[in-house]
Amino acid sequence: MSLELKNVEKKVGLDTHIYRTNLKLQKNTINILLGSTLAGKTTLMQIMAGLDKPTSGEIWFNNENVTGMKVQKRNVSMVYQQFINYPNFTVYDNIASPLKITGVSSDETKQRVGKVAELLKLSGMLNKKPNELSGGQQQRTALARALVKDSDLILLDEPLANLDFKLREELREELPKLFENRDCIVVYATTEPSEALLLGGNTATLQEGKIIQYGKTLDTYNKPNSLVSAQVFSDPPMNIAKIKKSGDQCSFLQNNIQWKTKINIKDGEYKVGIRPHNITTYKEGNNTLEIKGKVLISEISGSESLIHFTNGNLNWVSLSNGVFQKNVGDEMNLYMNTDEFVYFDQNERLVSNG
């Protein structure tokens, strides 16, 4: 089983929503579309599902051309950012709705709904209406509706975006389990790099209607093929600086901080990308290269602390473990791990990932 987009392009009027795209998704995989709002994730999913037609190009499913085939004829389910359920149906009827239309017997429906409801912890609320449920439970119902019918293709369009933090964490951890042992292709759109890392599988980074990179999630993260891909797959945003390399000595153009490197690239000017967690407020392990910073903003996220700081023209973020607060305007020392620097050439293509 595979889903293949061949030279797919989508234009609306004069705007190009999806630039020429080729992508092949294999069966039993979770594929993450990672990109900011308006990157084209939703459009791409709607084209995959058959809800929207590409302006040009073809969609092949199991070696069959399904371009233009109606969505009802394809075995697809979709979960949306908003909690989409039939408002007048009970949770049971909502989950059973895709089965009813395909004519599954009532005994089997009962059994399958029961099973999926148990999986999603909805067993106790099968007789309730969606508006009597919490947001998390409403989205579980929508997920159950998508899972109940053994689809070939399950599309999830930012399913956790409208949930509050606690519920999101809870459901996020359950998601990979839900897709285990399912003979299907899962496509999951998200704006959050952490979700991609948690779900594993494959990740495609998107920006402005283009797929920048597609590959195993960890590979995409560790070896971004370009600065754009690295930026899409970094939250908080990746810090970038221009550097000069000569021999085994590197230095920032902005200041005179220098470090030794083992990477094997020609001497010259490059751009370096540094993920926020490779800059910490304390010296630890390989985080040894010192940089002075003036605190711009200090914020706490979960059990980590973010310090936005400036050094000359650099405007950077650091992410350290532990909960602490710094005063705005404080001068402080931060420590970078040079082994984790990612080097890009002047065209912003990857040349070395440390």
């Binding site: 809800l51 389910s77 950012q81 039939y86 408002p87 508006n131 009597e132």
Partner: protein, 288 residues
Amino acid sequence: MNKTVNQKAWFFVIPVFVLVAFNAIIPLMTVVNYAFQETFGNNVFMWEGTRWFKQIMLSERFHASLGRQFLFTFIILFIQIPLGIAIALTMPKEGIGVPVCLVLMSMPLLIPWNVVGAMWNIFALPDIGFLGHSLNALGFDYNFTQQIGDAWFTTILMDVWHWTSLVVLLSYAGLRSIQPAYYQAAEIDGASRWAVFTKIELPKMKKVLTIAILLRFMDSFMIYTEPFVLTGGGPGNATAFLSIDLVKMALGQFDLGPAAAMSLIYFFIVLLVCWVFYTLMMRNEEKS
């Protein structure tokens, strides 16, 4: 902490109280005053107790106009609500058609009531009116000034023309607020157009339709100007709805006591029907 009792905040309520007094309480209490007394002018009043109320409640004339009123309201709701929803469903969702349709739809709502009545009177006149003349030319024996059925037909047609737009605009707003994802989900499920209407659109429009029905009920139940100008309540009393009958009693016959009692009964009927309807419609909403 010690809390001191201070009631000065009540002074802030005074402006609102004065306003409400002038636009609601004082006129209403004047009517109440008339409803329980007999007057011969010169501010001479005599206590009559509930006599006028009993008289109205037992009067055949009141029963007749109340019956006509309910029939009229029922018919126009039965036509306008489904018709309004149907028109809203066929209206364009994007492009230049949207403002064009919205403006066209709003036109009848912008015309003053008495103008609507006068327009339809001329339009429907059997000898010179376009509608009346055409119907007669087609072989129908149509004369709204003399035949009861024709008078009702014209009054209802006029009200449908005047007010269906309101239902259309409200329904359209309700439909537009449904997220496209609902339609997509139904498409994925393979739901029919009818199923989309009954399972998604109608439930999602429930609140706005409740408002539409309430507004149309109140307006049509209190209708006065348009039929007054169109038919004057005639032929005979055939289209003398409650308010027309009330004005006849109060200003035509100068029976101020019974008219005041009738006003209050009229008021309570509107209030009661609205309350019952709203409570029923919102009963399930409250639970969540």
